[in-house]
């Protein structure tokens, strides 16, 4: 509250810091809000560089309030020289104002609101996302900015070293376990393959919508189709690039795209990709545990068709088009009609034309007689 720093020095620091702040504000679009009192991070490091410094909550939780200087200064905020008090605006004096939160989670929820002061664009994006809706409904576990981005160690997304699924997995641990065993997760974690989707590729990031409050299920084939209709990408992995076309030409897919087009606010019980292939645990169709392997397909079909018998799965053409080499019975039906329709329609048309000619000649004759 009172400082022994002389006024000249204080003024010098104030002008220097203000100039730096203005530059940061104009170059980054940020609008930091400064408190008064502490302006230099060094003052904070005096205590917070102590690795044993802890903070207790009434709940009994004890957290370390040690701040790793190197970690912070190499973070996206630290690199720009942002002051601690930009975020910790209420701690501009020592002793700090006592915190009123009862537990660590409440503390996190109170502090994340500070992000909203600068990152207005991102806040607009998250406003109606599934986490914010859950938070508004009173679920304190819903993720806020810091749960995903970190606190003192925030890095640019392009520099992030933690795979996205591991970040989401801190809360969605069991889903992440399934994902990491899936064909996509194994490729990402095991091989570092950048082509496979991680959480945000399907669910979105800031504007993330939950499968429970939007027809996410209905539109999910479009998400899969983004990659699986990319012929070059699919052929580079030896994957059938016609899966979307064959899905949409069949009964299930056709119904789904009709719903997407004319009734997007309604759900249909017709299966989409994830209903057969698995959601987070989808495996390669060649995997012995895959839900769409021929040996396992009956069980998958029985999820919706509980009375299905062993012949039933063969009614699905496995994303292949009938041809002389595959699914020949269906191909032959097509061939029969390819012959029958032109033959009959041609004969009819010929008869109609000939009859018309006869009538025309007759009319012409009668006219001549007259």
């Amino acid at each position: 509250m009172y400082t022994s720093v002389n006024r000249g020095t204080f003024l010098f620091h104030f002008i220097w810091f203000s100039l730096a702040l203005i530059i940061v504000t104009y170059t980054s679009g940020f609008q930091p809000v400064l408190g008064e009192g502490f302006t230099d991070n060094e003052e904070c490091y005096v205590c917070h560089s102590n690795t044993n410094l802890e903070m207790a909550f009434p709940s009994g939780e004890v957290i370390s309030i040690f701040v790793d200087r190197d970690e912070y200064e190499s973070s996206v905020h630290g690199e720009q020289g942002m002051a601690c008090i930009t975020c910790h605006a209420g701690t501009t004096e020592y002793p700090h104002q006592p915190r009123t939160e009862l537990n660590y989670r409440d503390y996190s929820l109170d502090l994340y609101a500070i992000c909203t002061r600068c990152h207005t664009e991102q806040i607009a994006e998250i406003r109606n996302n599934v986490h914010m809706v859950a938070l508004a409904a009173g679920n304190p576990n819903a993720a806020v900015c810091t749960d995903c981005h970190g606190t003192h160690n925030i890095l640019c997304v392009s520099e992030a070293i933690t795979p996205m699924n591991r970040t989401c997995g801190t809360c969605h641990g069991e889903i992440n376990e399934l994902y990491e065993l899936s064909v996509h997760g194994a490729a990402l974690i095991g091989d570092g393959n950048p082509d496979v989707p991680s959480c945000t590729d399907c669910h979105g990031s800031h504007e993330i919508i939950g499968p429970s409050n939007y027809p996410f299920h209905l539109f999910s084939p479009q998400i899969c189709g983004d990659c699986h209709s990319d012929r070059d990408l699919m052929e580079s992995y030896g994957i059938n690039p016609n899966v979307m076309d064959s899905y949409v030409s069949d009964f299930h897919g056709k119904t789904v795209i009709i719903f997407e087009t004319v009734a997007s606010d309604q759900e249909t019980n017709k299966p989409v990709c994830i209903d057969c292939h698995g959601v987070h645990d989808m495996l390669s169709p060649e995997d012995s545990h895959s839900s769409v392997l021929k040996e396992n397909l009956l069980v998958t079909c029985q999820k919706c068709h509980p009375d299905a018998s062993a012949n039933f799965p063969d009614s699905w053409l496995s994303h292949y088009n009938p041809g002389p080499d595959q699914i020949r019975p269906v191909f032959y039906v097509k061939v029969i009609y390819w012959i029958l329709i032109p033959l009959l329609v041609g004969a009819m048309a010929l008869y109609v034309v000939s009859d018309f000619v006869r009538q025309w000649l007759k009319l012409k004759g009668e006219m001549k007689d007259v």
Partner: protein, 720 residues
């Protein structure tokens, strides 16, 4: 001869059924083609206008049902015509029809003037009749297959379904093309008559020309077709009931046709059954963060048990100790004790061989349990219980490995990685794990009894800042169980011990360990009357136990890194340990770290002896600091009055958040008496008062204003 003959060309029932069927076929075509080409703009308009795909589909199925009924009616009507009214069945194709077709082509192309001799059913009508009959049968059959794929595939191969789908679509296309090309041309364009609409069209010349045989037959044999009474009686008695019965059965079949299968209509693909919120326990802990943070990173969310763990002794005990015993020790939470094998088995927490019935697993997999543990821990315990939950069961190959663990080859590295940052040269809590001998001396391990070793008890009690990984714990446990072998000769061990002595002062009082063969003799008893000094004794104690916080950081304004600043800090009052805040704080045990009893005694003895720097300076010879006499906590009316009049409010406004009931640094400034007892004020001597010294130094986290500081300085000068 045939002019102006009026007769019923199509009966009323014929006409009604024609138009009903026409409507049904139209609706079937519209609802069918919208499904075949769903993204067409017309289709989308129809979906939007008529309630969406499900309603369009229901309409399609309903029309299919009506067409099925119509086919039944047609069969009955034809039977009535043929068998009751004895009218020749003119729609049956004959060999003459083929000749008629060719003749018709030739006539039309003006190759001949002779028209084909056609009966009542002309070639065109026969064609359209059979095209529609054939089409209807195909459509109904394939429609039934598509509507009831489950029952069909219980009898036929699955490929029948896509075959039916292809046939249904193509046949519909064929029927519609026939209707458009043939029906529209001959019955709408060529000769727009109303025979199918009104009852009594005139038998026109055109009819005579188109139907030369039929016209003669109609006129000449009109009396022959009058129905006699016997026939009517037979009709009412036998034929009609039989027909109705057949129709009833077939209608039931049609109803079955629509409602046979509902599974795929009512069912919904079961969603993924995984809890959405399943946090890693080290991210969202319900208890203390410290202590569990490192351990859980060693037990990541991986399925699959830790294969090296086979028994209570070889790992399960440690896992439960480190993960569970924090709460569930003797008389712990829920009365569950997970510290020893016997209590775990006695209370059915573990039922050997029956993991699914063992409470330990049912509880930790329950979301209501405070902490949720990793899948890997769960799987490890599961496998152990499945294999009979043995207490001691180490496979020979592992036993061999465990028995070969030594300090030299394995344990030194573990200690080096995990312990010696604090329990090395700093010797926190008198523990130095840098050498084999100092480790044995520390008392942290009890040879051959790992579960009784303080090192495990401390780690398991929670709250210890550092934690071992599961593998490290296991190795350490087995090393102790097998007698904590050094793996070195006595000379090598002694040399190791000597090296750490040279590297840094390890343990207070353990300075002169001259006999390397007997390092046990390092204990130093502080004898009464021996003068302890900063240089010889106390500096080492403070360096190892205090200066991490009270060094250059000067936490709480207290710096104990050198003799001068230590006395400046105000926490030591030479000659009066009872008033020294350092001693008061240590005895109160409110300080995060505490000195060992021996070290505390040494410090007290040192302060009692005047807190000398060296043997050269004695209790009465520390004038460089003008060490004050012990402050008598007597009432000093002048200062007390000033306290009450305003000085007290400066303290309460600026100091007591930290130096109130918290008494950070052992300094309590809440009341006049407390201030005097704190040792931070030396009445009459502002320059000797640590409070003033601290404020002027600027090192204290919070600083008083100049005015307040001046007021306090004046207050101290009052002296009494």
């Amino acid at each position: 001869m045939y002019k102006s003959i009026m007769f019923v060309r199509f009966s009323l029932s014929d006409r009604i059924s024609h138009w009903i069927f026409a409507l049904v076929v139209f609706l079937l075509a519209v609802t069918g083609f919208t499904q075949m080409f769903p993204m067409d703009s017309v289709s989308l308009w129809i979906f939007n206008s008529f309630g969406g795909i499900e309603d369009i589909r229901a309409l399609h199925h309903g029309c299919g049902f009506i067409s099925f009924v119509f086919i039944l009616y047609l069969i009955g009507a034809m039977a009535y015509q043929a068998f009751i009214r004895k009218i020749p069945i003119t729609m049956v194709p004959t060999s003459e029809d083929l000749q008629d077709i060719l003749q018709a082509y030739r006539y039309n192309l003006n190759a001949t003037d002779a028209r084909p001799s056609l009966g009542r059913a002309t070639l065109t009508k026969k064609f359209i009749f059979w095209a529609l009959m054939w089409g209807s049968i195909i459509m109904l059959l394939t429609g039934f297959i598509l509507l009831n794929p489950i029952v069909v595939t219980s009898l036929l191969p699955g490929v029948v379904i896509p075959m039916a789908k292809i046939a249904h679509g193509f046949e519909a296309l064929l029927v519609i093309l026939v209707l458009i090309i043939w029906h529209a041309y001959f019955f709408l364009m060529k000769r727009l008559d109303a025979m199918i609409t009104i009852a009594h069209p005139e038998l026109k010349e055109g009819h005579r020309i188109d139907h030369p045989i039929d016209a003669v037959d109609l006129y000449d044999n009109r009396d022959l077709r009058k129905i006699n009474e016997d026939t009517i009686e037979t009709y009412w008695r036998y034929h009609l009931p039989a027909y109705l019965l057949a129709c009833g059965a077939l209608l039931l079949g049609a109803f079955y046709f629509i409602n046979f299968e509902t599974t795929s209509i009512l069912t919904y693909a079961s969603p993924e059954n995984v809890p959405v919120f399943a946090p890693d326990e080290h991210i969202h802990p319900t208890g203390s963060l410290s202590g569990r943070l490192q351990l859980t990173t060693e037990l990541p969310h991986e399925s699959g048990a830790i294969n090296s763990i086979h028994s209570w002794k070889s790992g399960i005990g440690i896992l439960l100790l480190t993960n569970c015993a924090n709460c569930h020790e003797s008389e712990g939470i829920s009365g569950v004790n997970l510290r020893d094998y016997q209590s775990v088995v006695d209370y059915d927490l573990v039922i050997p061989g029956l993991p699914d019935e063992s409470r330990i697993l049912t509880v930790i997999s329950d979301e209501r349990h405070a902490d949720r543990y990793s899948v890997r821990l769960y799987d490890t315990i599961y496998d152990w219980i499945s294999s009979g939950a043995p207490e001691v069961n180490i496979p020979p190959e592992l036993e061999e490995r465990y028995s070969s663990l030594t300090w030299n080859t394995d344990i030194r590295q573990i200690m080096s990685d995990q312990c010696i940052e604090c329990h090395g040269s700093r010797a926190f809590h008198d523990l130095d794990f840098r050498s084999y001998y100092s480790t044995l001396d520390s008392g942290a391990i009890v040879l051959s009894s790992p579960d009784e070793s303080p090192i495990f008890i401390k780690i398991g009690a929670g709250g210890h800042p550092g934690q071992f990984s599961a593998d490290e714990l296991l190795d350490l446990h087995e090393w102790i169980r097998n007698g904590a072998q050094s793996g070195m000769s006595a000379d090598e061990a002694a040399l190791e011990y000597r090296e750490i002595q040279l590297a840094g002062f390890p343990i207070a009082g353990d300075v002169e360990a001259t006999d390397m063969e007997e390092p046990e003799s390092t204990e130093t008893e502080e004898l009464p009357g021996v003068l302890l000094t900063w240089d010889d004794n106390i500096s080492a104690i403070f360096t190892s136990a205090c200066t991490m916080c009270h060094g250059s950081n000067a936490l709480g304004g207290v710096d104990l890194s050198s003799y001068e600043v230590a006395l400046d800090s105000g926490s030591i009052i030479p000659g009066d340990p009872e008033s020294s805040s350092l001693i008061i704080t240590m005895r109160s045990e409110s300080h995060p770290a505490l000195l060992s009893a021996e070290d505390l005694d040494a410090v007290i003895q040192w302060i009692s002896g005047g807190a000398p720097k060296s043997t050269e300076s004695t209790a009465g010879d520390i004038d460089i600091l003008q060490a004050p006499e012990p402050v008598e906590p007597e009432d000093t009316p002048g200062m007390r009055e000033l306290w009450d009049e305003g000085i007290g409010s400066i303290f309460s406004a600026s100091c007591t958040t930290c130096h109130g009931s918290n008494a950070i640094g052992g300094v309590d400034l809440t009341s006049y008496d407390a201030v005097m007892e704190s040792g931070s004020i030396v009445p009459g001597d502002p320059a000797g008062s640590s409070l003033i010294v601290l404020m002027e130094s600027g090192n204290h986290p919070a600083l008083l204003s100049e005015e307040d500081l001046a007021a306090i300085r004046d207050w101290i000068i009052v002296g009494e």
